[in-house]
């Protein structure tokens, strides 16, 4: 048998050509459409300070969405993220009541998130329980603890220096939260798309068995992903508590679904295996602008959530409808 080595090209399509046909391209179009519609619909939309204010309605959720995107790509999910915020915020409240200062409060918030992530990760990756069941369980558990501690009371009176995380500005209209969102977007972009850890996440999401058969430490990667959602929820809890200036046990109720919506809208397959951080960033911007635009037009909240629901289904169904031609 003669062997004629054939030279395979690296790619048939340049990364740029591929990007043009990607999900992200659709999202960019949607984002532009929403932006243009908003600027025609309300004279107050195109104002730097208004736009800056608008970013607060997605930055905290987006922080969690970055970690959630990686988790969903790996084939798991964490529905306890909003409850982690409640628990972390409560823990900060308790620490504040005990006289802790800002640095300690931040550590307590993030530490609580980390601890919750350890619990979820140990149950899912360590014991092999299904993540959707485990995190529905911890969703009730974590918020339940917050309710027991707080009852119908609230923690208020956080120190003035603590306000910076949710109310401070880094430069001109750029808030601390917006800056943190941008930094985390870059960090998660690098982590998911530029490191071998990120590659392992995609491999596990596409075929966890084959990934294990390829020497990937599947359980360890899954455990780390739960730590990340826990920590990001803790960071979001710091920002949100600082922004609201108070802790109630009902804080961030329903956020887990908004975070998942953001991730799925961003093009992450709910079945795992594919997705991107730029997609999630775009989805966060779209959701933020839609919420803000509707707010300017005094559209009731319920209509807003109907619109987001339709948007989600529409954007998900679109490629499938197009492919059917």
């Amino acid at each position: 048998m003669t062997r004629s080595p054939r030279i395979l090209p690296d790619r048939l399509q340049s990364p740029a050509a591929r990007a043009l046909r990607s999900w992200e391209a659709i999202l960019v179009a949607v984002a532009i459409a929403v932006f243009v519609t908003n600027s025609f619909a309300s004279p107050y939309f195109l104002n730097a300070w208004n736009l800056s204010d608008a970013t607060f309605n997605f930055t905290e959720k987006a922080l969690i969405a970055f970690a959630m995107a990686m988790l969903i790509i790996a084939g798991d999910i964490d529905l306890s993220v909003a409850s982690i915020i409640a628990l972390a915020s409560t823990a900060m409240g308790v620490a504040m009541a005990a006289g802790a200062d800002t640095p300690v409060l931040v550590l307590v918030g993030i530490g609580t998130g980390l601890l919750c992530g350890v619990i979820n990760g140990a149950l899912v990756a360590g014991m092999g329980l299904p993540s959707i069941v485990v995190t529905i369980g911890t969703m009730s558990l974590f918020r339940g603890i917050a309710y027991i501690v707080l009852g119908d009371k609230a923690f208020t009176g956080y120190p003035a220096s603590f306000k910076f995380f949710g109310q401070g500005y880094v430069w001109w209209v750029i808030s601390f939260e917006l800056a943190l969102f941008a930094v985390m977007a870059v960090v998660y972009y690098l982590l998911l798309h530029r490191t071998s850890f990120g590659r392992a996440v995609f491999a596990i999401g596409n075929n966890a068995t084959a990934a294990q058969f390829s020497g990937i430490r599947v359980a360890r990667v899954r455990f780390i992903l739960f730590l990340l959602t826990g920590v990001m929820s803790g960071i979001a809890a710091v920002c949100l508590t600082s922004r609201l200036g108070s802790t109630r046990p009902s804080i961030a109720t329903g956020w887990e679904l908004e975070v998942v919506t953001m991730v799925v809208l961003g093009g992450v397959s709910i079945l795992g295996g594919s997705g991107s951080i730029p997609g999630v960033v775009l989805a966060a911007l779209i959701m933020g602008m839609v919420t803000f635009g509707f707010g300017l037009l005094n559209v009731p909240g319920i209509v807003m959530s109907i619109f987001l629901g339709v948007l989600l289904i529409g954007v998900i169904a679109l490629p499938r409808l197009l492919r059917r031609r």
């Binding site: 054939r6 395979l8 790619r11 530029r194 995609f202 075929n207 084959a210 020497g215 990937i216 430490r217």
Partner: protein
Amino acid sequence: MNPVLSLRGISKSFPGVKALSEVQLDLYAGQVTALIGENGAGKSTIVKVLTGVYQPDAGHITMGGAEVQFPTAQAASAAGVTAIHQETVLFDEMTVAENIWLGHAPRTRFGLIDRRAMREGAVRLLEGIGASLNPDLRLRDLGIASKHLVAIARALSIDARVVIMDEPTAALSHKEIHELYELVEKLKAQGKAILFISHKFDEIFRIADRYTVFRDGQFVGEGAMEDVTEGDLVQMMVGRSVDQIFPQRARNIGPPVLTVSGYSHPTEFADIGFTLHRGEILGFYGLVGAGRSEVMQALFGITKPSKGATRIDDQVRVIRSTSEAIAAGIVYVPEDRGKQGAVKGLPIFQNVTLPSLPRTSRAGFLRLAEEFRLAREYTQRLDLRAASLDQDVGLLSGGNQQKVVIAKWLATKPRVIILDEPTKGIDIGSKAAVHEFMAELAAEGLAVMMVSSEIPEVLGMSDRVIVMREGRIVDEVTGERMTPEVLVRAAAGLAVAA
């Protein structure tokens, strides 16, 4: 006597594989016909043709003289053909009666399921085969043997004329096998035509009246059991077929690389011991379920052995995970390519570099240029056919997926490579390429272990063959003794030929 069911000129192809080529088969009322053949001879395919799962590409099926077709499983069962499979398909959460009647339950006149008739019918059917089982028990509460009885009762509930038993004794104990034989006698007495598939010669000689032999998807012969000996059947099963050409290679066997001793697992294998040398191809032959893959997966860190030691270059190495195995230089090309081998959805180059990421990345950051270079180097060596290295592995043919999996392992520069059924289900061209490549690897000093159920492949490629049966090593075959007869006899538990 005319056959109840008769197949003539049945052919069936799958992409790259001719599973059946103009085979014939006759089944007679009140008689047991044994279907005999090696793994891959086409036995399972013919069962699927008979039960309406596969449609033959050519040929005729006649029942009672009239031509019939089985476009669906329902059509086959309506015609009175029923099968009891190796792994019985039953539902653990349903009762005995529900399992028996699923899909054709008796109805009341309002069209609802008639539970009482179901229960009574179930009891009647079970008694007919000498089983007294409570029809209201959930299946998960029954043992494997009782489940088998339920499966048989289910098969009889459609008033079958033809009963196919596909390795029915594989999971049964000695006593249960005995009861099964009695049951077969009862079915014979009721005039059923029985097709009995088994690898065990003792039971074939015990209960079969007739035999039919397939080899490599072709009909070899048939006749009455009283006219043949074991030796004749073995000869018919293994007789050299289409000549495959295996690469010639210089045997250049070096020092030991891997030594395994006393390797045991609670259920899958016991007391496995062997030594593997540099430059050697060590074949593992046995029937499906003999525990070969399980041993290999334990060596690769997938399953945990309960006892035993592995030494690499005379150093004891404990391997608890696949990453430790890879670090120790042991890699495994699995049999189940789709599930365990290729990560479909990821492009070719990412599949190739997956276990080598520590090498192709720097401080955890990927270096794509490095990945493409490594992927190109090894896919080129294997003569991979693909559009580009960025193509999704899931879009490749089976043979090319296998090449990607092998390339992935070679890129880790292993010392020991384990190939589990490396050419199963891949086309002839890729097969030859894989064989040639294995020879090359051995020549370069790699130690190769190959699990294969294809006798020509095992004999053509191996320097030495270990035969396993029921989780144990039963023979180690070298030199002159490397013949099909020796392997088949050892694997089936027959005495060594005189």
